[in-house]
């Protein structure tokens, strides 16, 4: 067995009040995996989830008992939540893992058909510093997969440690970039349908650690993360009309973006470099797309048509913008250069298309489609080809991409006087539709980048 050689940098301990932990270079840590035969090819469509064993991580001191349990369960929940993995219950185990460095008895794990084995240990220091180390084993190859890693952080940040562990396992086995250590900003809703109260909220991708960023005194809509995850754009009625605001996530400090008297602005998104914002502005009843450089200057108009132009989203290289327009008579999707200019229609199927969002990988565009009385979340290639619908319901709307471009979260609203929205996620294959537990009604999710 390979010695436990490599230690990842320790996460900064001060997490409690801040959302971002500087310190752990995720890419470095995740690039260490060697490619064993154990592999899930996501693109091929997984029918049978890969069985893994994850014995509760060893508590290396008395203080770590509960923490080891929690971290283990969260790592397992991340993996099984993808639909790609299935956890084997501990009652089936033949071997017990009592120490992190115990030799692995591969035949015992093969006998219960565990293809992957994750062994870990947790230590909680007197000062509240949590240390997690783990190893991933390819049971049938009889070898470790990648090298052991150690992560550290404060007690209050333990979920991030668990997500980082799960991210590493996911990446090593799938070859995909990770996404568990990420957040979602959304709109938390309460109250009846004709008097809904809306608050901006932020949570871990799995619905944990919900924190509210605004009170319910004004309608807020459609928050969007900056590429670094430190800022959020959203639309608020706090001035009486819809206007775009930019908020620092760590402090909840905000400022209005385009402050023209009486002018409605909405549907903002950051450029990939975080330096400018593309958005809709309505004047004289006409809605067009504008771009504003955040370092100063006047808004620049990108479209100029009597039709509605809204819901713009940059390509990841920043070169193009996909948006929604009803210039053909009904809302369809169009692409134009990020500087404006020639517009090309990309949606040609039946029905109405809206809320296009470019995938972080650049290859696909997710959208909302309305057809024959139903709403769908779908994806198409950036040129409009290979359209696929992933969901169908009374009202599915507003897709957002996981940082690795493999999963989409969206809002699903139920019909009727008691109807309410919830957040769901689905693979881009259309499988693994899941409701995200937000504790109450929720809409307009936007996924953060992978946290640092």
């Amino acid at each position: 067995m390979r010695p436990f050689a490599r230690l990842a940098p320790i996460l900064a301990p001060a997490l409690a009040a801040l959302l971002l932990i500087p310190g752990l270079p995720a890419q470095t840590a995740l690039a260490q995996g060697t490619q064993g035969p154990l592999r899930i090819e996501i693109t091929e469509g997984v029918i049978e989830p890969l069985p893994f064993a994850l014995p509760v991580f060893v508590a290396e001191n008395a203080a770590a008992g509960q923490m080891a349990q929690r971290i283990s369960e969260t790592v397992a929940a991340d993996l099984t939540g993808t639909g790609l993995f299935r956890r084997i219950g501990p009652e089936a185990f033949i071997s017990r893992v009592t120490a992190f460095d115990s030799p692995i008895r591969y035949p015992d794990w093969r006998a219960i058909n565990a293809q992957a084995l994750i062994v870990g240990a947790v230590n909680v220091s007197a000062s509240g510093q949590v240390t997690v180390k783990f190893r991933l084993f390819d049971v049938f190859a009889g070898q470790e997969m990648g090298e052991g890693l150690q992560l550290g952080g404060s007690e209050s940040g333990w979920r991030r440690l668990a997500h980082k562990v799960a991210d590493t396992v996911y990446s090593r086995i799938t070859g995909e970039r990770p996404y568990f250590d990420s957040r979602v900003v959304f709109v938390a809703e309460t109250g009846p349908k004709n008097d809904r109260r809306k608050r901006l909220a932020i949570m871990d991708y799995d619905g944990e650690n919900i924190r509210y960023l605004t009170d319910a005194s004004s309608i807020v809509l459609a928050p969007r993360f900056s590429p670094a995850g430190d800022r959020v754009l959203y639309t608020s009625y706090e001035s009486g009309i819809p206007r775009i605001y930019m908020m620092e996530v760590s402090t909840a400090q905000r400022r209005v973006l385009d402050d023209q008297q009486g002018i409605m602005t909405f549907a903002p998104r950051f450029s990939p470099d975080g330096q400018s914002v593309v958005y809709s502005l309505s004047t004289g009843g006409n809605t067009d797309i504008y771009v504003l450089n955040l370092s100063g200057g006047q808004p620049r108009r990108l479209t100029s048509a009597p039709s509605i132009e809204t819901a713009p989203s940059f390509s990841p290289d920043g070169g193009r913008v996909v948006f929604e327009s009803d210039r053909s008579g009904a809302p369809q999707l169009y692409v134009m250069p990020a500087t404006g200019g020639e517009v090309r229609r990309i949606s040609f199927g039946e029905g109405r298309y809206g809320t296009p969002v470019w995938s972080p990988r650049g290859d696909m565009i997710a959208f909302t489609k309305q057809n024959a009385g139903r709403f769908h979340i779908g994806v198409m290639r950036a040129d409009g080809s290979e359209e696929r619908l992933l969901t169908a319901s009374f009202l599915d709307e507003g897709p957002t991409w996981a940082p690795n471009g493999r999963v989409i979260m969206f809002m699903r609203e139920t019909a009727g006087a008691g109807g309410a929205p919830s957040l769901y996620s689905v693979d881009i294959s259309g499988r693994n539709l899941r409701r995200v537990n937000t504790g109450g009604a929720a809409s307009d999710p936007a996924w953060s980048p992978l946290l640092p």
Partner: protein, 177 residues
């Protein structure tokens, strides 16, 4: 279409407050429970005035008619709508101390962004028509609520048609220049 079914307590209080403080038309409808488009019928006298008094806001809401309805995805005004707006213009010229906030709304069968833009179109249609009927532009402001503030909450056409609306919310105060 003047049969609003929901109570107006929030708006009534707000209107009272505006009147009492002598403020301009600059209230925040979003903060008033969004009830600003819900009518004001059945409240009787009170902040909106005596509905039998033709100079009252209650009279405007109930008798003149404070809202017009639209077909799916449309912002054009039909004959009924133009008749209502004509009456609104007459009332506004007779009551020059009031300003109007025109709210554009959409039903729930569209995306949030598109419906915001559609509501802006609807509000603008009303604004332009009122101006064409002689109402001073500086008495009129518009806002779109998209699908955020339905008055009717069922999920079929009987409710949707009531929600595809533009509501003229009369507010006390001199014109904003």
């Amino acid at each position: 279409m003047n049969e609003g079914r929901y109570s107006m307590t929030h708006l009534a209080k707000a209107a009272l407050l505006v009147a009492a403080l002598g403020l301009g038309a600059c209230t925040d409808p979003a903060r008033l429970g969004g009830g600003s488009g819900d009518g004001g019928f059945g409240g009787g006298t009170g902040a909106l005035g005596d509905p039998s008094n033709p100079a009252s806001i209650a009279y405007f809401n109930r008798t003149v008619g404070d809202r017009v309805l639209f077909a799916v995805d449309q912002s054009t005004l039909d004959d009924t709508a133009r008749a209502t707006l004509g009456e609104q213009a007459v009332w506004l010229s007779a009551n020059p101390e009031y300003a109007v906030l025109i709210e554009g709304h959409a039903d729930e069968r569209g995306t949030r962004e598109y419906n915001l833009a559609l509501g802006a179109r609807r509000a603008n249609s009303v604004q332009e028509y009122l101006i064409s009927q002689g109402v001073a532009a500086n008495r009129l402001r518009t806002v779109s609520y998209g699908k955020e503030r339905p008055t009717e909450i069922c999920s079929d056409e009987s409710c949707y048609q009531q929600n595809r609306r533009a509501v003229s919310v009369v507010t006390a105060g001199a014109p904003v220049n």
